[in-house]
Structures are given as C-alpha cells and as structure tokens.
Symmetry: C2
Subunit: 195 residues, 2 copies
C-alpha cells in the first residue's frame, strides 16, 4: 500500500490528497459509508480512480486515512523545552483523541481495514519529533517502542476493552517507568534509600 | 448484565451454562452467527429464553462468553512456586491465545458487543490466583492493574493495531518493570551503581 506516513508532504501530492480527502468528507455527509465507491470519490475529487488506487491501494485504507487525519491532527507536538513535559502533553492529547467518539470509531475502522500498523507509524512519527528535540537538547532518551507499550497500548486497550479509559495519572505513572534518569526513589528498591 | 466472571461456579448454574454453551457451539456449526436467535438457543439447550436473558442479558454477551471460554480456558494458571515464573508462563500462554485466529476474532467480538470489561475481569481473576499464591509464599506483590497495563495492553494493542504482535522477550522485559524487588541495576539510574 502506498499510504504516506507521518508528516504530510507538500506540492502536487498534497493537493491530490487534500482534494480526495475533501471529496470523501463531502460524500460521507450525503450518503452511507457502505455505499461509497472509489469511482464516485474520484469523480468528486477530479482525479482518476487509478490515482486513488495507486495512492491508497483500497477504499478501506483511504477511509482510515481520512479518519486518522480527523483524529490525529497533523501538527507538531507541543514543545515545552523538556522531554517529560512534552510527553505528558502528547499523552494528554492522545488520551483525549482516543476516548472521543471519532477516536473510538477510528480504532474500529482500522481494525476492520487491511492496514494494521498505519496508525502506529503515525504515532511513532509524532513521538520521534519529541525525541529528536530532546536529543538536540542533550537529554537521555527512552526507547520509542517502550513509549508505545507504556503510553499508547494502555490507552487503547483500556478505552476499547476495559470498563473505563485510563486516567491521566495512571498514564503519567507509566510514563515515569519509560523515562531514563527517573528519580530512583520512585522506581527502585535498592539500599541507597535506607542509607 | 448477569454474566458470571472469573472462576466458574458449580451445581445447577454450571449445568445450565454448559448446556447453553453447547447449544451455541452446535448451532454455530449449522448456521451463520448473524441468524442465531435466543429462542433458538434456548430450545436447543432445553431452557427458557428468559433463563438466557436473565443470565447473559443479551445475545452478544452470550456469544462473547462462548468465545471467551474457547480462548481463555478455565484452568488454574501454572504454579511454578515463584511469582516471576508464574507470570512469565501466564504471559506466554496469553500471547499464544490472543495471536491465534480464535483469539483475534474474540477481540473483535468483544469490541462489537455491549460488554466491555468482561475479558478484562476474567484476566484479573487469573492474575489474582497467581498473586494470591505469591502472597501466601510471602513474596512482594505487583499491582494487578499495572500487570494489565504492562502485559495485557501491549499484547492486545500490538496484535490488533501494529505490524506484529510483541515478542515474548519484549513482554518479559515489561514484566520486569511491573515486579517489585527487581534487580535495581536494570531499573534505576541511581548512584549506588557507581559506588
């Protein structure tokens, strides 16, 4: 599949994407999602169907892409000047997105589409922006996969499968487990606390 | 909803459940899941429809219950005599279950049924058995919600939404984060390592 990932590109490619996305959003206001077809979207967007197939591969991927753009806005993560605060801000925003009605629907769309890994890669792109900034400041970096396991996974799992989404405090406490250079008193059980 | 959770109960209640579950499994071999009705299941199981409604509340909950029993077998978790080894064995089995085809289908069933939290409570029940044993041996205990966040959430999230399920090594490493009394050298960054 030829879906672009992470930060959007500019130029003609971006104009085609904007036009196709707009066509999907318009058509979804007029008709049911199940009756939507690629030729219909192409006609509304003023592109050929093969442009859509080349770029998205299949209708489900295009629909997931439009939903992702709605839920995971393409803006740079907040820059607070400090890694932990950046990640806390990102976590708060992600929790808001996933627990919103469009967010829950997106997770269901992605689950029934043939593009697993798509959202995960967008999230990796956002987290990498935060990590790159921290690296430039000389801060110690957590593993990006560990951030997915400790921040994203509990948010998605609890929102979809448990009684309630996680609280921000639960997520912040998991974030502390992911960060190197954590105050050891809250993390470890070694002798130095008793000395 | 009147679904029983965790460890199954015995007696008449257990016989009704076994008979209704067997009826569902039989009928699913003969016909499509979408055409299944509660009166049909009741007739096959030799109970009244109101027995089913009283116990499961709705058809989706009953179907999820049958699927759960298939994927999360009602057996006591392996007792190795040590908390970490018990949790490792449980994690390995859970990863196997969730990455199986019935396991993935179960997660989709649960997602579209009206009983979120159901599987999560079964998992809590299994983990509590392991924790109770460890407590009886005098071992330090991890928080059960943290075990859900560090073992279950990454397994489900990566299996359903990422490119691939987690590896056992990834999960074991997350388990180490959850366990109290962890070797501090692998967890914390405090001075004692340099002394």
């Amino acid at each position: 599949m030829a879906i672009k990932e992470g930060i959007r590109t500019g130029g003609r490619s971006a104009r085609v994407q904007a036009s196709v996305h707009a066509a999907v959003r318009e058509l979804l206001k007029e008709q049911d999602r199940a009756s939507l077809t690629v030729p219909q979207i192409a006609a509304r967007a003023g592109v050929t169907p093969s442009t859509i197939y080349r770029r998205w591969g299949e209708l489900a991927a295009l629909l997931a892409d439009v939903a992702v753009e709605r839920v995971l806005p393409d803006v740079a993560p907040l820059d607070t000047g400090e890694l932990r605060a950046d990640l806390r801000a990102w976590t708060e925003q992600y929790l808001d997105e996933i627990t919103s009605e469009p967010g829950r629907n997106l997770m269901r769309d992605v689950l029934s589409s043939a593009c697993p890994g798509y959202c995960t890669n967008i999230l990796r792109g956002q987290l990498q922006v935060i990590l790159d900034r921290a690296q430039a400041r000389g801060e110690a970096l957590p593993d990006i996969e560990r951030l997915l396991d400790l921040l994203v996974a509990p948010t998605v799992y609890r929102t979809l499968f448990a009684e309630a989404p996680p609280t921000l405090e639960q997520l912040y406490s998991l974030l502390d487990l992911a960060l190197p250079g954590q105050d050891p008193a809250t993390l470890c059980h070694c002798d130095h606390r008793r000395r």
